[in-house]
């Protein structure tokens, strides 16, 4: 059996571990083939901003140990992009013409930066996206203490980049069309708290605004102001890399369509991670949830199924743990329904509930036992089975009925 995985990040690693927990490797077996166009050992993409900040070395960015491929019987092919898939003949074609056969294929191609078609972008000398280690390396190469950085997009990627470079450059200015930062993750109040905090650290914001056009190192904004800059980072969003499946005739919506087993509509072809769309159980909507935990779990589920086991992944929810300069936001689910709010100057807790379920949570500097809330959202736990008033004030297992707690904590045998 030859397993082929296109990708080398969280979903791919999840799949390798899923395959190996189902089908333990035989000594001669090196039947998992990984294809990636990045010439690197598997690394944690979210750490690229930490690397810019000097908080981790490249060595510490490895998502798995150096023996990962050997131990799991994998071959990581020399970096080449997979350009075409023929699902009927079970073949993948690489750039340069090489063709490879597979028995089971996983598409774990992730996502790429959405580059808005702003006029004059081609005249900007130093323009970057911020998705990969190569992006971070290229950015660092041109940064100096005199650099004025302009970041388009106040989402997670743009702001992590802002944090990563703040200490090493002259100024960081962030422009976003939305009236608040982190508009896909935070509500207005929590976004304002985070914005105040970031501004205190020297990051400048220009919200409800956008770049109309660029002319070399000058941005012309919608409100007729101009910004001069030395480095431009485009962080306006990401798009699933779904072309291989799409061009092979597989079903693609916003991302690759998969079922609970991570099978695509093409026989023998699975997909996992940022390149897919999936059901958000907190909102009931089909979404692209480009999040590392979901990517790993989807990949693992795909791997188990590829190896002949049985697994399904049905509990995807949006979920973000994100900190900037020591202020932490933990969020999960969807922000609809009635609310419970508890806040002071530096802390914020907002719960969203309705229809006997917890729908979402936003926590700023309130990490304690946050996972208890996330679990209620993921599991769709009926709220009338527990003490919800207590839970609002204090997340913990005390709010559960004793029988449920015994099941978790053990009780006596």
């Amino acid at each position: 059996m030859r397993y082929m995985i296109i990708g080398n990040s969280a979903a791919a690693v999840g799949a390798v571990e899923g395959i190996r927990r189902t089908n333990v490797r035989t000594d001669s077996g090196r039947e998992i083939l990984l294809i990636s166009d990045e010439p690197r050992h598997t690394y944690s993409r979210p750490l690229i901003s930490y690397w810019l900040q000097g908080k981790v070395t490249e060595e510490k960015m490895r998502y798995r140990g150096l023996d990962f491929y050997d131990k799991n019987g994998c071959i990581l092919l020399p970096p080449k992009k997979a350009v075409r898939l023929d699902a009927d003949r079970k073949k993948v074609f690489l750039a340069g013409g090489r063709e490879l056969d597979y028995d089971r294929l996983l598409i774990a191609t992730g996502s790429s930066a959405l580059v808005p078609p702003i006029p004059g972008l081609e005249t900007v000398e130093h323009a970057f996206t911020f998705m990969s280690m190569d992006d971070a390396v290229a950015l660092r190469k041109i940064l100096t203490a005199e650099t004025r950085a302009l970041i388009v997009g106040a989402g997670l990627i743009g702001l992590k980049c802002a944090e990563g470079i703040r200490e090493s450059v002259r100024s960081v200015q962030v422009v976003d069309l939305a009236p608040q930062i982190l508009s896909s993750v935070l509500d207005e109040t929590s976004a304002k708290m985070m914005q105040d905090h970031l501004e205190k650290k020297g990051i400048l914001f220009d919200l409800s605004n956008s770049v109309d056009r660029f002319d070399q190192n000058r941005a012309f904004l919608r409100d007729k102001t101009q910004i001069e800059f030395d480095a431009l980072v485009l962080a306006a969003g990401v798009k699933p890399s779904a072309d291989l499946v799409k061009n092979a005739g597989g079903r693609v919506g916003r991302g690759i369509v998969v079922n609970d087993k991570m099978e695509t509509s093409l026989p023998g072809v699975y997909a996992a991670g940022d390149c897919t769309e999936s059901l958000d159980v907190s909102s009931g909507e089909i979404k692209v949830m480009a999040l590392l935990p979901n990517a790993y779990m989807q990949g693992e589920c795909a791997g188990v199924n590829m190896a002949g086991g049985t697994a399904s992944f049905t509990q995807a929810v949006p979920m973000n743990a994100i900190g900037f300069f020591g202020m932490h936001a933990l969020t999960a689910g969807v922000y609809t329904g009635e609310t419970y709010v508890d806040q002071d100057q530096e802390h914020y807790k907002k719960l969203f509930y309705g229809g006997n379920h917890l729908n979402g949570v936003i926590l700023i500097n309130r990490e304690e036992k946050a996972g208890v809330y996330t679990s209620l959202i993921r599991e769709r736990t009926p709220l009338d089975t527990l003490d919800f008033d207590l839970l609002c004030r204090q997340p913990g297992l005390a709010a559960f009925a004793q029988t449920g707690r015994d099941a978790i904590l053990g009780g006596v045998l």
Partner: protein, 147 residues
């Protein structure tokens, strides 16, 4: 953990915090210090029980860890402090609230660089066996490998 036998005495928390200091004398180790135990007692009326890592067979924290700092070694969920960047994804996903941000200045080995902490069954300190189990006066906390 059997809550029927838990007195809510919180001794497990003290023994846990003490174990992390690697010191010999508990009074000296903990006097005037904020403790940051990896096992925590919840009290609600007459109900008391202690919660620590369940070392889940399907550990969401390990699967969700963005750096690979959390891993399963011999059925125990371990954390490599060198690879943890303190993003708190594990805190956000553990259904039991058993992983917590480490508190600066609280009981932890000096210079350990710990960013989040969880029960590692005392394998990462000098004790080597779970001190909450060993010192629970009513044997409410037990250690059992349930396969």
């Amino acid at each position: 953990m059997d809550e029927k036998w838990c007195l809510g005495c919180h001794l497990c928390e003290y023994y846990c915090a003490f174990a992390q200091t690697n010191e010999k004398d508990m009074a000296r180790a903990l006097k005037d210090r904020k403790i940051a135990p990896r096992i925590q007692v919840e009290d609600s009326g007459n109900v008391h029980f202690a919660v620590s890592c369940r070392h889940c067979k399907e550990p969401l924290c390990v699967k969700a860890c963005i750096t690979g700092a959390l891993s399963v070694e011999d059925s125990v969920i371990r954390i490599d402090p060198d690879r943890c960047v303190g993003c708190y994804t594990c805190v956000l996903i553990c259904p039991y609230g058993a992983i917590a941000p480490a508190i600066a200045g609280a009981t932890a080995p000096e210079g350990g660089g710990l960013v989040v902490q969880k029960c590692e069954l005392c394998l990462q300190n000098k004790m080597g066996t779970p001190q909450c189990v060993q010192n629970c006066p009513n044997a409410a906390i037990v250690y059992e490998d349930r396969g």
